[in-house]
């Protein structure tokens, strides 16, 4: 009887009920979107350095080194010698070393000079095959494409590209002397790698040669075949250790190395530093979200209280029929909890739908990839407790209003 009464009463007040439900839903959307977007950004950042124990570059700021090596933002101020890289690559503690040569671009996408270790690294951290199509470069004038680059520029295996010197979209110096052939397209990783092109270290060296010298090269030289193409410096390198316990030890010996000044950073620590610099953004977003939620709570509260006032006759009638106050308060609690639950469920469903759509758009337009990261434990807890709390509150107000 109670449920029947609650349902029929809600249906009869469907307009106010819908207003309440939408207010709860909107505040849930506001809070959830802020939370999921922020957490999504964080986890996308974290994923970009997954599997990298140390990033090594010429001495600079920790965050600068992190940004230009892992996020393709900014540029190194100095380079490291290839000798340093080779020495650490051969160190028995190192499982994998990925070299990075930076500074060139193609139609606004950055070009990374690297070697096969990069693709091994991608495969190890994503858990799936590095290449969606084709294979890694084997020759100097071959290039592989990040997922987004291939999609945005509509490149296919076998296409010929010109790489430009410098990072601008319309670079003045285009390395027109030699074209690069696409041999592989990477699977999507959800990291900045998706927006890069990769060539061999020799390839980067080659495009900086004067055209006359380039002309002397064979049509398609193998990588490492020509000692003249071996670069003598690089921007940075990633290190993955065979034994993580040694991380600090290796970091210290790089930082204190007497051969060449170098800096090794723990990417996770640098990201944490970056976030702590940006924590005001999180605070501001959460503040705005909470404000929206607060406004909705006040709105829902005033709607419910107005409804309650209008229903005093109904409750007095129920009392004359022999309903106890407990019955009426429970009725109020059930109705309120139903409204809040429906509102929250609608809010969560809409947020998931909205973010799926928005994330899809973001992915298509900017190659941004965020996982839909919802803290289901918290959310589940909120969906269970908030209706209960609001129901109890309204029942309390009802009991107070029904006192003689």
């Amino acid at each position: 009887m109670m449920l029947r009464l609650a349902i029929k009463s809600l249906i009869s007040r469907r307009f106010s009920a819908l207003v309440c439900i939408s207010m709860v839903a909107l505040s849930a959307i506001a809070l959830l979107s802020v939370d999921t977007l922020y957490r999504g950004t964080q986890s996308a950042f974290g994923r970009s350095v997954q599997g990298i124990d140390l990033i090594v570059g010429a001495p600079t700021g920790d965050i600068n080194l992190l940004l230009f090596s892992a996020f393709q933002v900014g540029a190194p101020s100095r380079e490291l010698s290839m000798a340093t890289f080779t020495r650490w690559q051969q160190n028995p503690n190192i499982a994998r070393a990925v070299p990075l040569m930076l500074g060139d671009s193609h139609k606004g996408f950055r070009v990374i000079g690297t070697d096969a270790n990069m693709f091994e690294h991608i495969q190890a951290t994503t858990g799936h095959k590095a290449f969606a199509q084709g294979h890694a470069f084997k020759h100097v004038f071959e290039v592989t494409l990040g997922f987004e680059v291939a999609r945005k520029l509509d490149y296919h295996l076998g296409d010929e590209l010109i790489l430009s010197h410098g990072l601008g979209h319309h670079s003045f110096q285009q390395h027109k002397a030699r074209t690069f052939t696409v041999t592989g397209i990477l699977a999507a990783t959800g990291t900045p790698i998706d927006k890069t092109l990769q060539v061999s270290l020799d390839g980067i060296e080659a495009i900086h040669w004067p055209p006359a010298t380039l002309a002397t090269l064979a049509a398609q030289p193998n990588i490492g075949e020509n000692p003249a193409l071996k670069p003598d410096s690089l921007a940075a390198f990633y290190l993955t250790l065979s034994n993580k316990v040694r991380t600090f030890q290796v970091q210290r010996s790089i930082n204190q190395s007497e051969d060449e000044l170098a800096q090794a950073i723990l990417p996770g620590v640098a990201i944490t530093q970056l976030w702590s610099m940006l924590d005001w953004i999180e605070a501001a977003l959460l503040g705005l979200g909470s404000l929206a939620a607060l406004i909705a709570i006040i709105g829902v509260g005033s709607t419910l209280l107005t409804l309650l006032d209008k229903r005093m006759d109904e409750f007095q009638l129920l009392q004359t029929l022999g309903a106890k106050k407990r019955f009426i308060c429970t009725l109020l609690a059930v109705e309120t909890a139903t409204l809040v639950t429906l509102g929250m469920l609608a809010g969560v469903a809409l947020t998931v739908m909205l973010e799926r759509t928005l994330l899809g758009i973001a992915q298509n337009h900017w190659g941004l990839y965020w996982p839909l990261d919802i803290n289901w434990l918290w959310l589940g807890g909120a969906i269970l407790t908030l209706p209960l709390i609001s129901g109890l509150l309204l029942a309390g107000v009802g009991a107070w209003r029904l006192r003689n």
């Binding site: 029929k8 109904e314 009392q319």
Partner: protein, 223 residues
């Protein structure tokens, strides 16, 4: 049981917490009587009926309604008793608009924990006794005319076989013909069941058929 008094009042004081208060020295009603209580509006008529229904506590004196010593009870304790023993009819706002007539009638049986079999049939029977077409049972209360609603209120008041009916201006929302019909039907059903009836109204013209007339200002004095 019929010999027991339906109502026994000695020297009670009553009133809403922040409103006017009254004193009622003495009032006795034998079971099965029909009482017309005449009172102009605003003289505490509804307040007294609320007291008799156990909805408002008395602050002193003794009040026994159908052998229930209400002066010893808090209003929360009288809910079950009220549901089982009383039938209450108001001027309007008798029915929940969003429930069907049948649900409105059965709501009273729910609170009375009335476990009689075939309550819906009983409701149907009462409806036909009250000249209400059966198809109204499944209509929402808000779709009925005022006259029909008041008759559904009689059915609702009688469904639990109460021993006392309290009616507060039940006809003042009705036109003359409707109110004569209403009273005739109410009397017929009340007499048949041997219920006690207390009907309060400002309209002296209604009183002709009752066993006893009483004027509220003779009964109780404001404090």
């Amino acid at each position: 049981m019929l010999n027991e008094p339906a109502l026994n009042i000695s020297d009670i004081e009553y009133g809403h917490k922040h409103g006017p208060r009254w004193r009622l020295p003495s009032w006795h009603i034998a079971a099965g009587q029909t009482i017309f209580m005449q009172a102009p509006s605003g003289t505490g008529k509804s307040t007294l009926l609320n007291v008799l229904a156990g909805l408002l506590p008395v602050s002193s004196g003794e009040l026994t309604v159908l052998q229930e010593p209400l002066h010893l009870r808090r209003s929360a304790q009288t809910a079950q008793w009220r549901a089982r023993q009383l039938g209450i009819i108001f001027q309007n706002l008798n029915l929940l608009d969003y429930l069907s007539c049948l649900d409105n009638i059965l709501l009273a049986t729910h609170f009375a924990k009335n476990r009689e079999p075939r309550l819906a049939d009983k409701a149907r029977e009462l409806m036909s006794r009250l000249n209400l077409p059966q198809q109204l049972l499944h209509k929402k209360a808000c779709e009925l005319s005022v006259g029909q609603r008041q008759r559904v209120a009689i059915a609702r008041a009688l469904i639990n076989n109460p021993r006392l009916i309290l009616a507060d201006e039940p006809t003042s929302a009705l036109d003359n013909d409707n109110s004569q019909d209403f009273l005739a039907l109410l009397f017929e059903l009340v007499r048949e069941r041997g219920c006690t009836l207390i009907l309060a109204s400002h309209d002296q013209g209604l009183g002709s058929a009752f066993d006893q007339h009483i004027s509220l200002h003779e009964l109780s004095q404001p404090l």
